[in-house]
Subunit: 175 residues, 2 copies
DNA sequence: ATATTAGCTTGCATTTTGCAAGCGACCTTG
DNA sequence: CAAGGTCGCTTGCAAAATGCAAGCTAATAT
């Protein structure tokens, strides 16, 4: 049940429409942070990551909410904070992000170790199931390591959570 | 073998790096046109589609080529024409586009009929195999219908090429 | 030779982005 | 309860990207 059309669309092609919502350099990064890094608040997005400007961040959060991809509600105990969360529509972006991740890791120099990516690519279904499970459970433990350039070649977060065990937390921490 | 870094990257995260290359409203549309619509030349991109401006189109083609996602070579018989083609790196974007397509069709009002999308989502592997086969064979027949807003609810292009015909590889193959 | 086509480039107005600073509501501390 | 810090934004302004129309060059068609 999509909202009302804000401006005229370029075409009826679903790819084009998706790109009108998400086709910029920041929106999907915010979704990623919500999805696999357990970030929730404005200042977390701002600080931990690629250094988005606050006005852009505010704008993107607004647009993502307007598009029904995220929801915003004030933290119960502390009314300064706003907790952002993916909607179902938002969590459904997991396959898109996963494929972008795999593609980038395969074809560019990234901070992601090869074995991690191979595991991801081999276990897509399982990874996606884990992402969704964490979303349902509101489990904020980071699923993926931070992939800093020059990270260790060993997998931490992923392989663990991909192994068909039950649930494991990966105290990735640190930024 | 990625090229030399043009500007400093925001982070080592593969998603972020992918978005630096593809995170705009046009790049992936060009890739889509090459991948499933059989378009090859500048004027085809310009005319058939969402109405990209010529300067932007020229710029994107240049950047996509610089990124190794497409290649350009003059048409043998007619030296005015330039034939663009996806590289292997480019065709590897198929899963990204497919997931974007499925997501958009599922969550927005698009011109894509539901049954077509269901088929796509159910037969991801087969669709991807077909995309790759067409790329290998340089088969320019459009794989998908145009998805104009208000299109007929029946599938044309897809279902035909998705029906288990002769050869289906499961393009598991590594690299 | 002339006209047409294809693939750009250029100039310029509009929009989006990035950066730094500021601001008000809310908490915490003394 | 006043001072100060935190949080989530706005605002102002410069820089970059985008969109639009026109033009320009080389290659082909007539």
């Amino acid at each position: 049940m999509p909202g009302k059309p804000k401006r005229r669309r370029r075409s009826g092609c679903p790819v084009s429409i998706s790109l009108e919502l998400l086709g910029d350099r920041w929106s999907l990064l915010i979704v990623r942070d919500l999805m696999v890094r357990g970030l929730r608040t404005f200042s977390e997005f701002q600080g931990a990551g690629e250094g988005i400007a606050t006005n852009i961040l505010a704008d993107r959060l607004q647009k993502l909410e307007a598009a029904g991809i995220i929801s915003a509600e004030p933290e119960p105990g502390d009314h300064r904070r706003v907790n952002y969360r993916l909607t179902e529509k938002g969590i459904d972006l997991a396959p898109v992000l996963l494929e972008l991740l795999i593609w980038g890791a395969r074809h560019e120099h990234t901070g992601a170790p090869c074995d991690v990516i191979l595991n991801l690519a081999k276990n897509r279904e399982h990874v996606l199931a884990e992402v969704r499970r964490r979303w349902l459970d509101r489990d904020p433990t980071p699923l993926l390591p931070w992939f800093v350039e020059g990270a260790k070649p060993t997998a931490e977060g992923i392989t663990a959570s991909m192994r068909p065990g039950k649930r494991q937390h990966q105290p990735q921490g640190g930024r």
